[in-house]
Amino acid sequence: MNTTLAKVKLIEVIKEFPLRRGETEAVRAVNRVSMEIYDGEFFAMLGPSGCGKTTTLRLIAGFEQPSSGQILIDQQPMQGIPAFQRPVNTVFQDYALFPHMSVLQNVMFGLEMAKVPRKEAESRAREALALVRLPNAMNRKPRELSGGQQQRVALARALVKRPSVLLLDEPLGALDLKLRREMQQELKTMQAELGITFVFVTHDQEEALTMANRIAVMNAGEVLQIGTPHQIYETPSTRFVADFIGETNFLDGQLIAIQDRVGRVQLDSETTVEATLGSDQPTIGQKVTVAIRPEKVALHAQPELVGAGGVAVAETGLIGRVESAQYLGTDSRYTVKIGQNTPISVRVQNTGEMTPLSSGDTVQVSWDTRHARILLH
């Protein structure tokens, strides 16, 4: 992966769709989106449906023209360049295989358009079909194939053109779970082997986390955060990102003190917690949210230790009451009420070191302040 050169670059891209009847404001599907996608990278655009991720992909592919802003592919501005002249290929969500052509004709189509000699085109198409492990379906029509096989044909049809960038629009969305897991692995391997830049649109956070080198989390037409799966998961920049990816506790309160990027947040009249400041710059007195993942919260069944001669169990120590307990095998899930009335969910691995808690137990709740983040409300 070459991080010095942006393979695809979006600068302040806006896409507005014209007013339709009954709408008072033009719909801004993509709002000031800027991003750099590096050469050889597996880049995911993640967000709920309607967040603008597919529109962004279509802008890169050239099916839509941006209302303003710039798109560069291989450092070349794409302004006014139609889809058929762009060095990118797309795998569509519904595959969009040509129903009147055989599998081989589908895969050869792009090469024919590029005026590749017939013999070479055919051998390259066969190669591509072998690559997606579908070498025996060449003379069949797309409708005779299963969803998974159609997906492979769509992939072969795009890859055979040896694109600079491969765009994938929720390509695994129509597959069942097992097949999807398999294809995730295969796509990842294929991408690593071919070294082609993949831009992958998905609404499945798990898919994005397992496959991508970097993820852009989008909502309401805007990019909220771009980072590695680790960064996105561990240090979400906004409440939306923290909420959308994985499970998170949100503790609302007021910021009362800041010291060395660690803030103290008052949840109620007698409870305060500590957490690290995020990229937002809240001021003292402001309403904020503390975000903490369930698995980052530690529970200790020895409440007497707290305050007993300053035993430092953790940087934050609170007393809580177990409201409910669920045993899930590898781990246990608890809902613990802290302070006056703040429930937080906690996930504890069943390592065998701690006796399982049951509801009604009093526990000490703690976390490393590095894992808790203060986000704007």
């Binding site: 592919a61 099916f63 058929f84 290929n89 569509f92 969009a96 009147h100 792009g110 358009m113």
Partner: protein
């Protein structure tokens, strides 16, 4: 499920059950009788026509035995005992019908397909209104269409004459234009239906793979809407062959089509040859429309 049916929760009164069964039977009978009589009513005149085209008796509607003489009369050129049927005139009318049919169908198919494509894929102001207007030629009375076209041609021809001095008379050309007018709408509606079932991603996919808009059209769009185009063309051809009203108002001397010719013969009397000719036209039209419907309903 099996255990459920084994334990009925109530026992219905057997008399009321029989009563409702009787009502159901009558209902079923009515459901059967209604279409049978309706279709009989619809088809009886045509069946009669076909029957009498094989009737050996001439001039009377009483059955006098089976014959195919009238069919051979049509093509033999002999005028029969009473010289009322001219094969020469009929062939002339047939050739006019075919010229008008083929020409207007070709023109209407090309224009109608273009209209259908721009109505499905295009984005322009007033599209909704134009879309609604597309159905206009289908719903306006044919007599209105025929008369308005006749007036239109007269105005145009007089204008041309006033400028160039050249006198243009209605004929096959005006009939063709008249037929194109209504056929464009039919072709466009059928092709549009086919096209709106087509996934727009397919065209994007073609572009994505490097096809120019023109290549996309003839490699992807056209093959996929082809059944619709052919179905539309067949229907247009049938409508053109069958058309009487528009043709009648816009024909000139010597440009009679087959329906006009048949009408002309009926003015004197119903000859058995007319029966035979009408039967042939019916069979031809039915085959064309049937094929058109087959193509419209065919899946990819």
């Amino acid at each position: 499920m099996a255990t459920l049916t084994q334990t009925p929760t109530f026992t219905p009164d057997s008399r009321s059950l029989q009563g409702s069964l009787l009502i159901r039977r009558i209902g079923k009978a009515i459901l059967w009788i209604t279409p049978v009589f309706s279709y009989l009513f619809l088809w009886a005149p045509i069946l009669l026509l076909i029957l009498f085209s094989f009737n050996a008796g001439r001039g009377t509607f009483a059955w006098r035995g089976f014959t195919t003489q009238w069919y051979s009369n049509i093509f033999s050129g002999t005028l029969g005992a009473e010289a009322r049927f001219s094969t020469e005139l009929m062939l002339n009318a047939l050739s006019n019908s075919l010229i008008v049919g083929v020409t207007s169908t070709l023109i209407a198919t090309v224009i109608g397909t273009m209209v259908a494509i721009s109505m499905t894929r295009g984005k322009f102001p007033g599209k909704r209104i134009l879309d609604g207007l597309l159905f206009l030629p289908v719903v306006i009375p044919e007599i209105t269409q025929g008369v308005s076209l006749a007036i239109f041609f007269r105005v145009i021809f007089e204008f041309i004459e006033s400028i160039t001095g050249a006198r243009i008379l209605p004929g096959v050309g005006t009939i063709i234009i008249g037929h194109v007018v209504f056929n464009v709408a039919f072709v466009a509606i059928i092709v549009r239906a086919r096209m709106s079932n087509m996934n727009p991603r397919l065209e994007e996919a073609a572009g994505d793979l490097g096809a120019t808009p023109w290549q996309t059209f003839y490699r992807v769009t056209l093959p996929l809407i082809m059944p619709g185009v052919i179905a539309g063309a067949l229907l247009a051809f049938t409508l053109s062959l069958d058309d009487f009203v528009v043709t009648f108002f816009n024909k000139g001397v010597g440009s009679d089509t087959l329906p006009i010719f048949v009408y002309g013969m009926l003015k004197t009397s119903v000859t058995p040859e007319v029966n035979a000719l009408s039967t042939l036209m019916l069979i031809f039209s039915t085959v064309l429309v049937g094929f058109s419907l087959f193509l419209q309903n065919r899946k990819d």
